[in-house]
C-alpha cells in the first residue's frame, strides 16, 4: 500500500499510467465488491455453511467480505440455519431469487423457470459486480455462474473476478448436472472424492483436497 501512495506523487507519464491503475485498484478495494455465495437447500446449505465459516475466519488474510447469500424464494430453511451459525449475518445480506429448478420438477417447465432465473441473475450480477461467485451445486447456481461469465467477457465484471464451483459431497462417481454445465467455465472446480478426481484429472481447473466435510 505504501508503494502505491508513492506512485501517486510521481509525475512521469509511465508512472502516471501506473498510478492510474493503482488508483483503480485502490478504488476497487474501497468499494466493497461482494462475494456471492449461492445457497441451495438441505445438504447444499449445510456444506456451504462450513465453507463460509472457513473463509470468514479472522486469521484468513484474503478478504471475502462482504458476503451476499443467494437464497431461492421457495427455500424457508437456509436463511435461519445460516443465521443461527453465523450470528454476524444480517437479514440484508440475503438476496432472494426465483428458483431455476425444484427437485422433481419436469424438464419442460424447468426450461421456462430457468430462463426467468437467468434474467434475474444477469440483473443481480450486473448490479453488484461480485468479485467471486462461489457455489456448490444447487440448480440456482447455474444461471449465476453463466451470468458472471458473460458479464466478465463483456467487461462489466473485472477480468480478475472468479467463478468457483464445489461439487457436492454426495457426488462420488459422477458429476451433478450443475457440475457438468459449469465444468467448462469455472476458474476452480473442486471434487471431494478420489474417484471423480481421477476421472477429471486431465482438466486443469479440477482440484481435489480430500474430503472437506
Amino acid at each position: 500500500m505504501s508503494r502505491n501512495t508513492k506512485d501517486f506523487k510521481c509525475s512521469s507519464t509511465a508512472q502516471k499510467i501506473n498510478s492510474v491503475s493503482c488508483k483503480q485498484n485502490m478504488s476497487r478495494n474501497t468499494k466493497d465488491y461482494p462475494t456471492y455465495v449461492i445457497l441451495g437447500s438441505g445438504g447444499h446449505t449445510a456444506e456451504m455453511r462450513q465453507i463460509a465459516m472457513a473463509l470468514l475466519e479472522p486469521s484468513n488474510c484474503t478478504n471475502y467480505q462482504p458476503m451476499r447469500y443467494i437464497v431461492a424464494d421457495s427455500d424457508d430453511t437456509s436463511q435461519s440455519k445460516l443465521s443461527s451459525d453465523l450470528p454476524s449475518i444480517r437479514d440484508s445480506d440475503f438476496i432472494r431469487v426465483p428458483r431455476s429448478r425444484s427437485v422433481g420438477q419436469s424438464w419442460l417447465s424447468t426450461i421456462f423457470s430457468t430462463l426467468w432465473a437467468l434474467l434475474w441473475s444477469c440483473w443481480l450480477i450486473w448490479r453488484d459486480q461480485p468479485k467471486l461467485v462461489l457455489c456448490n451445486g444447487p440448480g440456482t447456481c447455474v444461471p449465476f455462474c453463466y451470468a458472471a461469465y458473460m458479464w466478465r467477457l463483456l467487461g462489466r465484471l473485472p477480468a480478475n473476478s472468479k467463478i468457483v464451483f464445489l461439487e457436492s459431497f454426495c457426488r462420488v462417481d459422477t458429476l451433478s448436472l450443475s457440475g457438468r454445465l459449469l465444468l467448462p467455465l469455472a476458474d476452480m472446480f473442486i471434487v471431494q472424492w478420489p474417484g471423480l478426481a481421477e476421472c477429471y484429472r486431465h482438466k486443469n481447473n479440477v482440484k481435489y483436497f480430500g474430503r472437506l466435510f
Binding site: 438441505g42 445438504g43 449445510a46 473463509l55 484468513n60 422433481g104 472468479k162 457426488r171 476452480m188
Partner: protein, 171 residues
C-alpha cells in the same frame, strides 16, 4: 444395541415411502424390539400421520410419536440414539459429524437418483448402513450397529482448500 429415541428425517424433500415404512407394523415392531420409547418424525413434504394413528401406535407399541414438518433439527440430531434418514448429504453429514448410528434409506421417488453413490460409498467405508425402503424393517431388526466406524475428517483438507482459493483470488 438399544435405541430409546429414534429420529427419522426426510430433509427438504418428499419421501412418503420412508414415513410409511417406519410406521408400518413391521417397522414399529422392530423399534419396539430395540426398546424404542420415542419416535420423532420430520416428515417435510411427505404426508404426516393422523392423530388417531399416533394414539394407536402409542397404545399398541408403547412408542410416543412426535411429528413435524420443518424446524432447526440440531437438538433432534443430538438427542437421538439412532438416526434414520434419506440419502441427502445434509442427513449423512449430521449422522457422521455427530457420531450417531444411522441408516440411510434410498429415495427412489426422486428424479435424479444419484443418492445411491454417497450412501453406497459411506456404507462401503463402514460409517453407516444403507438400505432400500422395502428392507428397512428387517435391517432395523438384524443389523449390528457396533460394527460402524467413527467418522474422522482431516481439518487440513479445508485449510488446503482455503489456501488454494486465496491463491486464486490473488491472480
Amino acid at each position: 444395541m438399544h435405541f430409546k429415541v429414534v429420529y427419522v428425517t426426510v430433509g427438504t424433500t418428499k419421501f412418503d415411502g420412508l414415513i410409511r415404512a417406519m410406521t408400518s407394523d413391521a417397522g414399529l415392531y422392530a423399534l419396539q424390539k430395540r426398546k424404542c420409547q420415542k419416535l420423532v418424525l420430520q416428515h417435510g413434504n411427505s404426508l404426516p400421520l393422523e392423530e388417531s394413528e399416533l394414539k394407536l401406535i402409542n397404545e399398541k407399541y408403547g412408542i410416543e410419536v412426535e411429528q413435524y414438518k420443518f424446524r432447526p433439527n440440531i437438538e433432534d440430531i443430538k438427542g437421538a440414539d439412532l438416526i434414520i434418514g434419506h440419502a441427502g448429504a445434509g442427513t449423512c453429514m449430521d449422522i457422521l459429524n455427530n457420531q450417531k448410528p444411522g441408516i440411510i434409506v434410498v429415495n427412489d421417488e426422486l428424479m435424479d437418483n444419484h443418492q445411491l453413490e454417497l450412501a453406497g460409498q459411506l456404507a462401503a467405508e463402514e460409517y453407516l448402513f444403507y438400505c432400500q425402503v422395502s428392507e428397512l424393517a428387517r435391517s432395523l431388526a438384524i443389523l449390528d450397529f457396533a460394527f460402524l466406524k467413527p467418522y474422522i475428517v482431516d481439518k487440513a483438507n479445508m485449510a488446503k482448500f482455503v489456501n488454494a482459493l486465496n491463491g486464486l483470488m490473488r491472480q
